[in-house]
Amino acid sequence: MGEWWTTVPIGSSIGNYEISSISHVTMSPSRQNNHVSSLPLSRTSYNVISAFCTEDNMPQCISYINQELDSLGLCSTRTCIEASSPGGATINTVPAVNAMYEIMQIHRRNMCNLEELEKEQLKTSSNLDHIQMNNSRLKDQLELSIREKSGLHETERQLQLKIKTLQSCLKTEKDEVQKLQSIIASRASQYSHDAKRKEREAAKLRERLSQLLVDRKDKKLAMDVLNSLGRSDGKRSHWKTTKTTASHEGEMYKSLLNDYEASQRSLVLENAELKKVLQQMKKEMIHILSPRPASTRGAASDDSRDQAESDGEEKAGESNRETLDQSCEQAREHLTNSIRQQWRKLRNHMEMLDSQASQVQNQLESDKEVVPRDTHEDEMERMRREVQQCKEFIHAQQQLLQQQLNTSFDDETAVLLNDCYTLEEKERLKEEWRLFEEQKRNFERERKNFTDAAIRLGREKKAFEEDRASWLKNQFLNMTPFTDRRRCSSSDGQSALSIRSEPEMRISSTKSQLAKSSTYATFSTPKPTKSATVPSTTELYRTLRLIPDSSSSRQSKRGCWQESSTIEDGDLRVKSNNRIRCGDLSIFSLGGDENSLT
């Protein structure tokens, strides 16, 4: 079939090579014969070309060729090769050449096709090989997997067998267990039965033994007492009567009753104690909670509501106190409910405090810088202004000097004096300049001190805030009803103040001030309010005074003041310097204030 297939494209359909083989198949039967016949012909024609056409059979040959050509469809309309002369052995060359050419063309094309087909065949054959190899491999694989499968099947079968045996084993084991259990049960019952029987027997034996022993009137069985004793309580023994049994019963119930009463009493006592504790706790809670809304100046709606609530609670608490003694169900419930409520509120409050503390902590960090910075900047501004003033004074002085110089130039008579004056003035100016420099330096120092003090103040304030927070916390913790409140507030509070605990609660300065005053009022604790107030300028200066450096600087300043004053005294005679002196005075007005404050 392959052979046939390769020959197919020889036909006219070279261009339609790609057309599916089915179309070729349909075409093939009609053409097959032609090709079969033509091919051997063409092959042989190369070898026996001379044998095909001779001088003698030229016309036949030609006609044959014509026929052939006709059949090939090359010269269908006209005879391609005609004998130029019917009798002669010549052929019409042009059509012959044409035919030849066409044949050659065809031949070339066929050759080309052939080549392609060969290539194609090579490819397909290699493909085929590959596929065959693949096929064989797959076959091997298949075989292998089949073998594997059979193996697996085998193992599965074995496993199933095993399972079956195991299941049967399990069944037998289960049976065994059941059997054993039943055996155990039966043994147990048997044992208990036997034990009972034995016990009964033993009892019977004992009975018998005692009977025998009693019956034998054991002579040995006796008590030999010199003389009988009196009862330990000194009373005589009673006859056994129904009365005594009744009295025994009564006695027993009495002792039982006593015991129950005792236990009840202790329970009541305990209950009362607990109630007292509860009551106290409640009171303390009210105490703690009530001053809070008053203290928080930001009269939030929440706070006011709380206050109202706590008022109501207080009333309820009072009523509870009244009903405490009548320990009725309702009162108790009320008490526990109110306590629960208070507790909830307290918890909320604590949570709020917590959040506040965290807020304040952040705020404080900023406050620490902001608060002193305000005053600091104010002070700086003032100093700057003063420096400006000083500069202005100097400028004015210079102008005046210029004027004076000018006027003195105008005055011809005073030329001599002028020189003296200028010299003197120069000297004085130099002196003034020196003074000014010194003042400026002093100012700088003071400014530095001030900033230091302000920072220290801020730090102190922060520490105080921490102290206060811890103190408040301690105070709160000590408010618990289990410890003596007063003792705790005096001793523990102090210790809390002295020992600086970790700052857990920080409250903003302004808020704390108010809250603090109220809490102190309620808890009547003494001192430590003083250092907490917002510092006024005077206090600021006071703190400044406390610094040893500042005091020394102040002294030096005082010296300066004196110096300057002496200089000014000297200057008093000079009219033109009046203004400078005034300026100096104003500059030192600050120092004067300080002095007066000390």
Partner: protein, 449 residues
Amino acid sequence: MNFSEVFKQSNQLCKVSPDGKYLATCVQYRLVVRDVGTLQILQLYTCLDQISHMDWSSDSLFILCAMYKRGLVQVWSLEQPDWHCKIDEGSIGLVSSRWSPDGRHILNTTEFHLRVTVWSLCTKAVSYIKYPKACQKGIDFSRDGCYMALAERRDCKDFVSVFVCDDWHLLRHFETETQDLAGLEWSPNGCVLAVWDSCLEYKVLLYSLDGRLLSTYSAYEWSLGVKSVTWSPSSQFLAIGSYDEKVRILNHITWKKITQFEHPATISNTKAVVYKEVVKRPAVGSDDLSLHNITIGTTLFNTQSKYEICPTPVQLPVVKPDPDRANPKIGVSTVAFSSDSRYLATKNDNMANVVWVWDMQKMSLEAVLEQTSAVRCLQWDPRRPRLAVCTGNTKLYLWSPAGCVSVQVPTEGGFQVQSLNWHCSGDSLILLGKEQLCLCYMDHDQEDK
């Protein structure tokens, strides 16, 4: 701390009278009564045979001496030395003899627990109580001496009879819900009776005086159960030691478990103080090994010991019990409350060297005493929270909340303390050796003087 000289005794029979004035000791067949203060012999009685049991009457006037082998009981009067009383149980035998709380009756349990014979010294009357049960603790008198509870067994069922001790009137008789009753004990206030089942079943029953079942407690099933039961002196707690190495504390209101104390092999509780006895052998130099030293004896063989406080966690020595043997050495066998109910001392049998002291207020472990040898006996001071422990060697160990001390008994001949008894005043302690006894006076005594 002072020690008296050593006296002879046999069978560890040595008891101080309930009023604390006299000390009675038995030496073979002789009964010696001494004054506790001077230790001088006040009376000397001779019994018919070797004494196997001896007991004081509650009013400290009479002493009972039982000779079980002969089935005999002899009673002696301290006030009238020539007065005598002899009770012969005859061929029925005798296994146990005790005073009734009024000190005028003697209760004898016959062999095979056939019956309990009640002999009255006042009227010479004899009464019998049948069917007593042979068990761990079958008879208990209430603390005030009014009632006696007796465990009985009839028709393979357990019963409890409550008698009025005054005239032996049967007050109550009720069946208990036990498989095999093992013991019973009155609460110190005499209103609740604790009854527990044998070790095969964990079951503790609480009965009211009038026989009502107040509560039943069972911690677990299918395992060996109760090993020891003790009431706190305040009647507030009932401590139950069991085979699972735990002590469970029941409260007196709901009879539910308050807490349980475990006895782990590793103590990681950092609040507990672990005292470990450390033995320090005296360095014996070559020149010390003289004949002189050896003849003097005791000091050479006696080792010094002291307590060291171990930092937790501490690993305690544990002996694994043989599971195939009956009554395995495991579980809490000793539970003892201090006189003020503040502390509880326990001993776990598979850690025989260790005494545990628990704080009943904090409900936590207070101290652990790790001894070098197995603890033989432990007893609380009847007046103070002070615990005396002996381990069968020549030392006495005392624990108090302040600390722990090991005292060498300074007697010759290697006095080994097997058991100990506090004097009721808590000022002295009677140490019992194998055949000797010795009194130990506490320092407190001297301080008072």
